[in-house]
Symmetry: C2
Subunit: 91 residues, 2 copies
DNA sequence: TTAACATTTAACCTAAATGTTAATTGTATT
DNA sequence: AATACAATTAACATTTAGGTTAAATGTTAA
């Protein structure tokens, strides 16, 4: 079920862009929101999807909630793809 | 965008299972259908989603349509993930 | 305590995805 | 040509996803 959650989370362009942003460094929900043309509420839901997929982690810092990337779960996708491509490497 | 199509196609358990089946070898739409509890029409649509994402290819053989895996497009996902994990370069 | 700010949650709407059955298309067989 | 078979497409119902605004929650500071 983890793979399912992860892939569903990645199948949205805004969520992928959020991950790309967080790759550069942690930031608050509000900062993240500034990068997009949708409401804070919408971003908040995207963040919760990413969090459920364990792709990001959050910590509260005063009145801000800071999000950081957790790329480790992507390992599972890499593995699944690698198996699908055949156990031998051909590139 | 290709990555978007690919990830959306992968974000469905039936479609992932179809890819796993095709990894073992090509088969017809009917054969694929036998592995699932949904109708042939439903599988046919799943196949078209996979085909649009270029994850599979089809060739007609008489009254059968044979599907085969095309795992090469998964390379793009691998690359995107690798970059996200920081093992690659930024965009 | 109250006000202001950051963020999330709730309620609602619309669009997209997935499933079904029925009709259609394409091919083979008689 | 007529029938049967394989598969797709069309029409429709239901579910899920993503967006909005408004209300609720949590925190800081006057």
């Amino acid at each position: 079920m983890a793979l399912q959650n992860t892939l569903k989370a990645l199948a949205d362009p805004i969520r992928r862009e959020i991950l790309n942003l967080l790759k550069e460094g942690s930031m608050s929900a509000g900062e993240i929101t500034n990068y997009f043309d949708v409401t804070a509420a919408s971003i908040s839901r995207h963040l919760s999807v990413l969090k459920d997929a364990d792709l990001i982690r959050d910590t509260r810092d005063g009145k801000y909630i800071i999000y950081e990337l957790n790329a480790s779960v992507l390992e599972e996708i890499m593995l699944w793809i690698t198996e699908l491509k055949g156990d031998g490497r051909n590139d």
